[in-house]
Subunit: 238 residues, 2 copies
DNA sequence: ACCTGAACACCGTTCAAGT
DNA sequence: ACCTGAACACCGTTCAAGT
């Protein structure tokens, strides 16, 4: 919508020599820092400008909007994740490789929940996302699958990893945090409420409540991932 | 944090006779309407108050914060979904039942993407979410699984459905919508860009690009769901 | 070419004042 | 018990003015 030259691709300080006191990289570094320190809600142009010791307007030289800032910051932070995934050695079993990569991706997003919101959103800005997708998909090339099956399988694995990690990253509703309760305490409180429900109305909830109470999110992710991978193995064998 | 009595559970117009010109239900109806019409970003207390023909302050009589408003609106909108899931008849194969329910849930969220953000966030406010979870889980009681396996399986299915639907619900980045391009056009544009990439660097992307181009999101979800269900069937058979 | 910060048009939330 | 809307403390974004 805006026609200012600095909002077009390739403009800004990216091309040409740089005389500026800041740089896109510096802006993104500071953005990632703020995001890590206080989460997505705390990132404002004012706080970012303060950290960079400039005026708010300066940021708009490097980035056309907050959306673009977050797109770029996400891609920026995905760099090390791509490296970690590249470091996964090719093994005998392609499914083992896929599992390893999915876990690396999942762990990265759990550590930085704000990543999930913009991950793979803009393929033009986010080159790293596409590279990640490529790496995750490569093991499936060694399996006896159609392109369509590969596409669906890799999308399912990444979608499940990102979706699950995003869910975990959500901080619990404020109402539950009035007192200084930690995660285990919250789970336990919910569990007790579930146990108080009528067992005839909630047979499933009663069946699993002990598993829910104190459960580890990582276990939950891995179990779901195993189901997908088992289904995939079956598909390739058929 | 606030100590106003109306923010505590059970306060407000919920208990006692109602003489008010509005009601929590009316507020939630209007909220859902606005959400449907214009998406999560368009919902403001001012627009909601305008629709209800009141002042902004009035809404705070029924709800302590925007967070609570969205929690309650989500639960409110989940009512019909629960009914639809209850209408799924119990069949021979529990996995078929689970599949049907998952698809109902998925479809509901695709239709109302804003649901995903608050789904299952607050178990105290969202009674309907818990009921949904119960229904989704019931088929697994008829399968030869441990409670832990059930817990993991149902969490995986709901997580995958909600996560995938949420992803689809994201509107594409503004930069891609400059002209009046529709979804197919966007997919096609991305696909062409992918085809232009070096085939040696991106073998997987090249392998699946024709599947990506013009793909149907629902197919993608169903394929992933089948992988999970196949894995689950295997687990129950083992 | 890059930076600045006041100004604009919004937000969610509060609260004294009304009925 | 319920409603009102001005006021407060924020936002993202713009832009004339600086170097």
């Amino acid at each position: 919508m805006t026609t200012r030259p600095r909002s077009t691709a390739g403009a800004g300080p990216a091309r040409g020599r740089r005389r500026s006191s800041h740089s896109l990289d510096a802006v993104l570094d500071a953005t990632v820092q703020l995001l890590d320190e206080a989460g997505g809600a705390a990132l404002t142009f004012r706080s970012l400008a303060a950290r960079l010791r400039t005026g708010v307007g300066t940021i708009y030289w490097y980035v056309a909007s907050k959306e673009e800032l977050l797109d770029r910051a996400t891609d920026h932070a995905l760099g090390p994740v791509l490296e970690a995934i590249d470091a996964v050695p090719e093994g005998e079993d392609p499914i083992d490789d896929l599992r390893r990569m999915a876990i690396v991706l999942f762990d990265a997003i759990v550590e930085r929940p704000w990543l999930s919101a913009y991950f793979m959103r803009s393929m033009e800005i986010q080159v790293t996302s596409l590279r990640l997708y490529e790496r995750l998909g490569r093991p499936t090339l060694r399996m006896d699958l159609t392109p369509r099956q590969r596409f669906h399988a890799v999308s399912a694995v990444t979608g499940f990893a990102v979706g699950t990690a995003a869910d975990l990253g959500q901080e619990p509703p404020e109402a539950m945090l009035d007192d200084g309760a930690d995660r285990d305490e919250l789970l336990h409180r919910y569990a007790d409420r579930w146990r108080a429900l009528d067992a005839d109305d909630y047979p499933f909830v009663h069946d699993i409540v002990d598993e829910f109470d104190g459960h580890d999110d990582v276990d939950q992710f891995r179990a779901g991932l195993e189901l997908i991978l088992a289904g995939l193995r079956l598909e390739a064998a058929g």
